[in-house]
């Protein structure tokens, strides 16, 4: 049965009210968000394994790259040819990776109850939930901010007819944001963070072709 996320969250919040993770469920009042990205072996949540996790905090208009999460995991068995071609992470690149348990611990500590920002962020959150839920008994309760929605909301008022091109590289191009390191978790997380800051604080980009 598919339980809507919000209902599930209320349930889990109640369950963990007295637990060590209660603070994750509190309402967030600060001005920070966490930009997060995972590199995985597949785009199918059911099959995919996480290879690396990158995250940076965004505070106001500053991307705090000095406080960041750059986790490499131990290579999973499913690491195979197809995905290697995209993210170019080989098993040997993960030789000094850490255990998934430690990684999740770090992610929870880093993210706290801040909103999570990402590009197709639901995929990343579901990936993390897949591993967090069996261990902790809850999914990430954080508010999710989808970059392409933020972009779309701002762009659509200036755009008449047709679909808005929401591809990562297109958005970065329109916003004139340098793509720092595509397809590394941290690089994508930083680029997304910059795009977010740009959208939030800058003037709306001119998207005429």
């Amino acid at each position: 049965m598919i339980i809507p996320r919000s209902i599930r969250r209320m349930k889990e919040k109640r369950e963990h009210r007295e637990g060590p993770w209660a603070h994750l469920f509190e309402r967030y009042d600060g001005d920070e968000v966490v930009s997060l990205d995972c590199e995985t072996t597949s785009l199918d949540v059911k099959k995919a394994e996480i290879l690396s996790i990158g995250a940076v905090r965004v505070k106001g208009r500053k991307v705090i790259t000095s406080e960041r999460l750059d986790i490499k995991l131990k290579p999973p068995k499913s690491l195979s040819g197809d995905s290697i071609k995209i993210h170019k992470i080989r098993a040997s690149d993960l030789a000094d990776g850490i255990e998934l348990d430690d990684a999740l611990e770090q992610v929870l500590a880093f993210v706290g109850n801040r909103p999570i920002l990402g590009y197709y962020v639901n995929f990343d959150i579901r990936m993390l939930d897949k591993f967090i839920r069996p261990r902790y008994g809850f999914g990430l309760p954080n508010k999710a901010i989808e970059l392409s929605h933020v972009y779309h909301d701002i762009i659509k008022w200036k755009h008449i007819g047709g679909d808005v091109d929401l591809r990562f590289d297109t958005i970065a191009g329109k916003l004139d944001i340098p793509i720092l390191e595509r397809h590394t978790a941290l690089g994508d997380a930083i680029t997304v963070a910059l795009m977010y800051v740009r959208l939030k604080y800058g003037v709306a980009p001119d998207i005429s072709y």
Binding site: R61, K62, V63, S66, D70, P178, L180, E181, Y201, G202
Partner: protein, 609 residues
């Protein structure tokens, strides 16, 4: 930030791998909208900002309530860093405003201090002045090898061990010794003195003079040895050989002989043809031969510049070459009986030995009072025409010996100098500026010296004159704001903005302190020695000038190659788009130095407002 931060740029490239990792681990990224203040004057800045994308301008803080136009000092663009001073001081004195949307890397002050503490060179670059920066850049520059050669001292590397024979050694024995030691010269000791015997000397003695093989070699040695100190530059040995037309120089350490430097050894390091050209100039027996030799100079210049030889050495060498072309031509054209009665002087940039590309000729003739030489002006016309045919472009202001106004007796010359000095009118001041850089190149130097010494005495304590004279140095604005908007107007008149203010300011100071040297670098050195100029200011000023000249020269050569007639139509323009980040940085610092110097001049000579 992982790898988006470019470590290739100085000063960050000075850091070790470990320090670069530390830096990367601590960088933040900031985003600023157009018009937003990145650093506000009076506040504590977060650290040093390095622009990833965008443009930021630095401007003076405006006091509340005072209506004044914002003066923008500098603009920074991609890959530039700013805020170093403010971060180190803990308080910003200027406003830094984003001119367009800007993304910056932010290096926190704490990390900056750590890096400064651990890396002395990085610290120097961040805290020091222009001279030190240039030094660091030079050490890390790509043309290290050539520059090092130019700065190489005469050390054991190039010095051959001398082959010394005692008095009484026969020509035959000496020849055998030379063969076994593979030497092509011996030093013969006679009493306490040493004399040189070369292969040519031996041939002359045996074949031409038909001396017996038992002759004592010390009898055919030449005892007038040309020596050089072992601490001297290898380059100077080359200049010496070129000047004296010799192929060996004896190296001395104090009173002790260390060895011999051979021309072939020096030349094997020094790939250009300066020596060959020098010899051709010296041996030219006709105007045509001299012309051929002179035309080889342009290639030499290009070779020297492209191999990254220090600009001052290049200027020295070329000034020596140009001077000798002119004096050789003087010998060829001026009748021998007239030569002792006239003195040819070069003025302006040539007189200062700062001309590299031949941009014009400024020369004049001083002759003895009451000299009777009816054909003088016709000869001078011929002289100028010949120089033009050598590729010395005519002077636009017609300051040439073909113009009778610049052919004067000693009395008239001194009169003209004092007339110019007495008026405040612009053109007279400019002519005087050119004339006080005069240097004698041929003929009777005494004539020139009499006039100069009289003039310097004449000017003593004439404050009004110096105040007028100095004014020209501060007349042109020194722009510092062009760096950001490269697209609109990426060109800068480096002569007005940088070179002229330094040259003229130093000229004024030198004149006031009766410094006889005409070269600006030498003048600066002497001014420092006399305590007129602070050591640090002097060094910065010299580096700023060298940089301006170097940047200008590189673009001059490019333009001259592109132009159909081989002549650069806009010799003083610098196209900023052709500069790399490092050069922009240095140029900006150099122009800051110029601005400071102009301020100093304005105070010194009361040139207020």
């Amino acid at each position: 930030m992982p790898n988006s931060f470019k470590m290739d740029n100085i000063p960050f490239s000075l850091l070790t791998d470990a320090e670069q990792t530390l830096l990367r681990a601590n960088l933040d990224i900031g985003y600023f909208q157009k018009g937003e203040k990145v650093i506000t004057a009076g506040e504590v800045p977060d650290g040093v900002y390095v622009i990833l994308k965008g443009c930021v301008s630095e401007s003076e803080a405006i006091e509340a309530g005072v209506e004044a136009p914002q003066q923008v000092f500098v603009q920074y663009q991609n890959e530039d860093y700013f805020g170093g001073w403010s971060a180190l001081r803990g308080k910003a004195i200027h406003n830094f405003v984003a001119e367009e949307e800007t993304i910056c890397h932010i290096l926190p002050t704490r990390t900056l201090l750590d890096l400064i503490a651990s890396n002395a060179q990085f610290a120097d670059y961040f805290q020091q002045n222009l001279a030190v920066k240039r030094e660091i850049v030079a050490q890390h520059g790509s043309n290290q090898d050539m520059a090092e050669f130019m700065l190489a001292k005469i050390t054991a590397a190039a010095v051959r061990d001398p082959l010394i024979v005692e008095q009484g050694t026969s020509i035959r024995d000496a020849t055998e010794l030379m063969r076994t030691h593979k030497a092509d010269c011996v030093l013969a000791r006679k009493g306490g003195r040493l004399g040189m015997v070369t292969g040519t000397d031996l041939l002359d003695a045996v074949v031409l003079k038909q001396l017996p093989l038992e002759t004592d070699v010390s009898d055919i040695a030449s005892y007038r040895l040309v020596t050089i100190d072992h601490q001297d530059y290898l380059f100077n040995a080359l200049v010496m050989m070129t000047q004296q037309q010799i192929e060996r120089v004896v190296v001395m350490a104090g009173d002790e002989m260390v060895g011999v430097v051979e021309l072939t050894d020096v030349l094997s390091y020094f790939s250009s043809h300066s020596h060959v050209i020098g010899l051709r100039i010296e041996r030219a027996a006709s105007v045509d031969q001299l012309r051929e030799a002179a035309q080889g100079l342009n290639d030499l210049i290009k070779a020297l510049i492209s191999s990254g030889v220090k600009i001052r050495f290049t200027m020295d060498l070329l000034a020596a070459m140009n001077g000798r072309i002119i004096s050789k031509l003087f010998d060829l054209i001026i009748p021998a009986d007239m030569q002792p009665h006239v003195c040819l002087i070069v003025m302006g940039s040539e007189g200062r030995a700062e001309q590299i590309m031949k941009t014009d000729q400024d020369n004049a003739l001083i002759f003895r009072d009451n000299l009777a030489w009816p054909g003088m002006q016709a000869t001078m016309q011929h002289f100028s025409d010949t120089l033009i045919s050598f590729g010395f472009p005519p002077c636009p202001g017609n300051i040439m010996v073909s113009n009778p106004a610049w052919v004067n007796s000693v009395g008239d010359w001194t009169q003209r100098l004092s007339d110019w000095a007495a008026t405040c009118e612009g053109s007279a001041q400019m002519q005087l500026a050119i004339a006080v850089d005069a240097k004698p190149v041929a003929g009777n130097e005494a004539l020139f010296k009499v006039a100069r010494n009289w003039f310097l005495r004449h000017l003593r304590n004439n404050d009004v004159f110096f105040s007028h004279f100095a004014r020209a140095a501060v007349e042109f604005d020194t722009p510092l704001t062009f760096f950001g908007n490269l697209k609109d107007r990426g060109q800068l008149d480096i002569k007005k903005g940088g070179i002229f203010p330094i040259v003229h300011g130093v000229r004024t100071l030198a004149l006031e302190h009766r410094i006889l040297k005409t070269n600006t670098f030498q003048r600066i050195e002497l001014l420092m020695e006399q305590g007129v100029m602070e050591e640090q200011h002097g060094k910065d000023l010299a580096e700023a000038l060298a940089l301006c000249i170097q940047l200008r020269l590189r673009q001059q050569i490019l333009r001259a190659e592109e132009a159909e007639d081989g002549i650069d139509p806009t010799p003083n323009l610098i196209d900023l788009q052709q500069l790399n980040k490092l050069e922009r940085d240095l140029l900006r610092d150099a122009l800051h130095v110029v601005k400071g110097f102009k301020k100093h001049l304005a105070q010194r000579y009361h040139l207020g407002g």
